[in-house]
Structure formats: C-alpha cells, structure tokens
Amino acid sequence: MNAREAIGDTVQFVQGDKACVYGALLAGCRFFAGYPITPATEIAEEMSRLLPLIGGTSIQMEDEIGSISAVVGAAWTGAKAMTATSGPGFSLMQETIGYAVMTETPCVIVDVQRGGPSTGQPTRASQGDVMQARYGSHGDYELIVLSPSSVQEAMELTIRAFNLSETYRVPAILLTEESIGHMREKITIPDTVPLQSRPATEDEAAPHVPPFSPFGRGKKAFVTGLTHQDNGHPSTDDHEVHDRLVRRLCAKVCENMDDIFQADTVRMDDADTVIVSYGISARPGRAASEMAAQAGRKVGAITLKTLWPFNYAYFAELAQRVDHIVVVEMNCGMLYHSIREAAAGNANVTLVSTLGGKVADPTAILEVIR
C-alpha cells in the first residue's frame, strides 16, 4: 500500500496533528521517532498506525532526546525522518538540533506549541517557542521554521518542510500551536505532491550544499559534530576552518531566501497600515484587516508561512511603503523585535500580544490601528 492509499479519502475533516502526519507521509517520510507530549501526541499515535501499513518504521523512544537522536541516525541511512513534540520536549531536543545543523542532516521536527515556560499550560496554545526554534541550540547557525495558519496548511507546510530540509540539508521545523494541532477542519488531500531529495552529487546540489553520502553504500562517510573539514575530518583548532564552515552553514539558508521565504498577503496594494502575523494569530489579523476595509481604512494583512530565516529585506521594503506595522503574536513579542529591527524607524511597529492560550480579538487589533 502506498502512502496516498493509506491516508484514504480525498476530503477529510481532521485535526492539524493528523494533517501533519498526512503531509509527512506524502512527502516521503518513512521513519518516525517520538515521545508522548500534549498537544503533539496525536502525531505519534497516527504515525504508529500508518507507517507499518506502508513499510515505514515508527518507534516510541525513552525521551525526546532519544527521539531526535534516532531521527538523525535514521536520516543517515537515507530515510526521510521526523519527530514531533511540544515546548518541554523541544527544549530537550535543542542540542541534537544543533548536531543536525552541524552534520547537515535533513530531518523535520514538528513543535506543537503550548504555554510555557516550564510545564505551563499543556492544553492551551502559545507562540512562545518562536525564539527557541531559531536560537535554542548553542553556537551560530540558521535553520528553517515554517508556520501554518490552518489545518490544510499544516499538511502542506509539512510537505514543504521535508522538501526544504532535503534540498538544503538542514533541519526544518514546523512550528504550529495547540489550536491548529487540535482543531478539526476540512482538508483536501492531493494525489501527488512535488518531492525533493537530498543531493547525491554536486550537480544536483543547491549553492553551498554538499552532496549526501548515506550509510551502507561504501562511501565511508565520517559524520561528526566537531568542527570539520570538507571531507568530514575533525579540525578543532583552526579558526579558518571553523569560520568557513559556520559561514557556509548560515549562507546556504540565508542566500536561498527567495526559495525559502513565503508569505500570503491581502489588501496590500494601497495599504498604509499592515497587520503581520502567523499561525493561529494570522486569523484575527486577517479578520481585522477585513473589518478595517469595511470601515474604509487601507489596512493590509501579511500571513508569514516562513518565520526563519528572517527576511530582513522584505520587512525593510515594507517599512518604506507603509506607515504602521502591527505585529500580532501569542507571546510577549518575539518576531516583533526582528520586524522592528528591519523597519529601522521607517514605520511605526506595534505589538498586539496575547498569552494564556487566548487568540487575539480582531477588535483589539483595530483598537491599535485607530
């Protein structure tokens, strides 16, 4: 049975967590390792049901560190591999996410965000992991973080996370929230999806991305988290080797921004004010834009699908065009800081912040615009 057959009906009414699983399987994911945690558990449950039907492998590990480690191990056999978790487990995974960056291991991590810090609000939504997703591991690095604002997008962006991760040999994180993860919406499942695989030769590889040598093919790959030369051999005392490696790892993500960055826009043509948001917060953001339009105001809305790498040029240009940027987030202000930095005083940047699982009210956003 192939993945599409295992998934079943073309139109389904499912939770975001389940949609992530569908997206992963359509993208070619055949290995899952996870550990139960609210509100991401449904992903592990659904993986354990579907993967054996299509000849894949699903394993429940002893903790989240074991889960991401098993995913990296599986990825080096050539498999497309994924894990899923929420804040506390995502914190535990950070060291190995850095290892995956350093070893250029394609893999996907789904973080269904809940309220933190600590155990916080396990069953309530949050966008409090936006900074952790980008900066959670030690050292300088870049990776890819995508955020869906509907159940349909949870499926579509999981596919995209796999494809980007394969193309650039970098961990890709699907950063969603309890609200999307547990919400049921109608989705339409495609019969086929575009598929990317990690480059086997230099000709196939994107700029700054080396070809991948999977285990078991006689390539004698040496994979290490130590600073290494191009052949993988450790070189821990040479500042030039480290400088070249780290800058290349960052460049392969940032210099391919045109391919990686995506945002949906509405009513932007003559907007003087723009509401910027992502994930579940994008929905009140778009509603506020529509309400403002009905009142005769020129208020656009941008829904970011790619959070990281952060597109400074996009926001710098935006700040030239509009007077006011309103950032809506379910945290104390995270992406807000980067947007304000990019705006560089050319537009006012205001934050609408909600906590505790509360999604912003469109009227509260309109208050800020007024």
Binding site: L53, T57, M61, A74, W76, G216, R217, A221, V223, H233
Partner: protein
C-alpha cells in the same frame, strides 16, 4: 593470527592517524580486538556503521575505515537505534565509555537493552571522565581519588555488565585490556548474537585515573586488571574480585525482526 600491518590498510582510516589516545591507554587494545573480530567473522566493512558519543572511547569509530557517526554525549545508543531501525541490514557497532554509557546516557542504555535493538555496544570502562581531565564517573571505585573526589570517591559505583544483564541484554560479557584474546572472542560471539550485545572492557587510563591512584607504571596497571579480576565461574570464592567472562548469551526476539513481522501482519 594476522599481523597488525596486514589489517592496518584494510580496516583503518589511515589519514586520521595518529590517534588522539595517550600512551598506555587501553582503547587501542579494544580497537585492535574489534578489528580482529570483524576480520575473523569476514564482516563487510561497507555494511557496517560505527556510532559513538563523546569521550576518549567515542573517538574509536573515527579510526575504522567505514561509515561512522560521532554524535552527542550519551546518546550514541539512541542514534544507533535510529540507524538500525531504519535499515536493519546494517551491522551497527557503538563505542562508548563509562561516563557516556551509564552517566549521561544511562536511560538510552537500559531502554536500548529493554527493546532488544540488534546493535553491538562496546563500553570502555576506565573508571573516570578521561577527556575532561579525570573526574569521577558512575563506575569509579570507592576510595579512588579523582579531580572531583579529591578526598576519595564514596558513592556506590555501577557494575555496568551486571546492569546490562539485569536490564535484559541478549549478550553480555566483561573482559579487560589485559585479556585481549578473550576480549576478541567475546566480540566475535557478541556480534554473532542477533539481539542487543553488550561488552564491557575494563581499561586503564594512565593519564587521568591511575596516576592519581598511585599506579604510575603501565605494566603495573595491566597487571592490576589481572590481579583484581576472576573468571565468572569462580567469582563466589573471591567476592572482592571483579567477575570477568560471559554473563549472558541467549536468543531473544530482536526489535527489527519484530517490526518486520508486524509490518507483514498489518500491511495489506
């Protein structure tokens, strides 16, 4: 027995030599025994993956001319589980140490054993964290001086082989670097067991452990492991000595075999 020079070209990543290991370190004996076991079993190096964590022992994988995954501290067994579960045809060997295996990695160790994933774990127990300069480890003998037990260690140490046996490993043996031939034979037997294979090797750390514990001559160190160990069959007569030999060798359904039969059962 083949000369080391005959094995050198075939099995070692020669451009990684010399090793980072200190004079008198036992890890080289373990590497030698492992390579000889692989050679005598005629295993295909291109079908083997060497996984390791962090520490002196974890550097061994780098010296074998095969695919190797040098990972994060304590997690080698979890990475190896992913390699084996995703491709059961690969032979997976983990090199680890006492700190890596039962300190930071203790949870992965007991759970890897519990699920009986078919990997081969060789743990080099040198009684201390050697790479960071000789701190106490979960296996440091009571009374030993280390840089973090300057007045003598008092915590109860783990008996690592016994821990593996209790957790349910399919194969468990303990030898020392003063018993290289027995060690090589144990690796051969362990690698032939399809389940989780665990081999503990007591090994001297001249630089960071023994010097502080008043044994300064490598010859004396190697003699210490002979004097303080006893074949497992006679262990009851000598309760003060460390039992060495084969603790377990049983057939037990391995994880990837069970997964494969589950897939056959449920897939239409």
């Amino acid at each position: 027995m083949k000369q080391a020079s005959e094995l050198y070209e075939t099995y070692l990543r020669t451009d990684m030599l010399p090793t980072i290991l200190c004079s008198g370190c036992g890890a080289g004996v373990v590497l030698n025994a492992t390579i000889r076991a692989i050679d005598s079993l005629k295993m295909d190096l291109d079908n083997m993956v060497f996984v390791s964590g962090i520490g002196c022992s974890s550097r061994l994988g780098a010296y074998i001319n095969a695919d190797s995954l040098h990972t994060t501290h304590g997690r080698a067994i979890a990475y190896a589980t992913g390699v084996k579960a995703a491709n059961p045809d690969l032979e997976v060997v983990v090199f680890t140490g006492d700190g890596d295996c039962v300190g930071i990695g203790g949870n992965h160790f007991i759970h890897g054993i519990r699920r009986n994933i078919g990997i081969n774990v060789i743990a080099i127990n040198n009684y201390n964290y050697g790479m960071t300069g000789g701190q106490t480890s979960p296996s440091t003998p009571q009374g030993s001086v280390t840089t973090t037990t300057q007045y003598g260690a008092f915590e109860h140490p783990f008996d690592i082989a016994q821990l593996a046996k209790t957790a349910g490993a399919a194969y468990v043996a303990r030898w020392t670097t003063s018993h290289p031939l027995q060690l090589q034979k144990a690796i051969r037997k362990g690698f032939s067991n399809k389940g989780f294979c665990f081999i503990e090797v007591l090994s001297p750390c001249p630089t960071s452990y023994w010097g502080r514990n008043k044994v300064r001559n490598p010859e004396e160190m190697y003699q210490w492991y002979k004097d303080h160990t006893i074949p497992i069959g006679r262990a009851e007569e000598y309760p003060e000595k460390i039992p060495i030999g084969e603790l377990v060798n049983v057939e037990k359904r391995e994880w990837t075999e069970q997964w494969a039969s589950l897939v056959r059962k449920v897939s239409p």
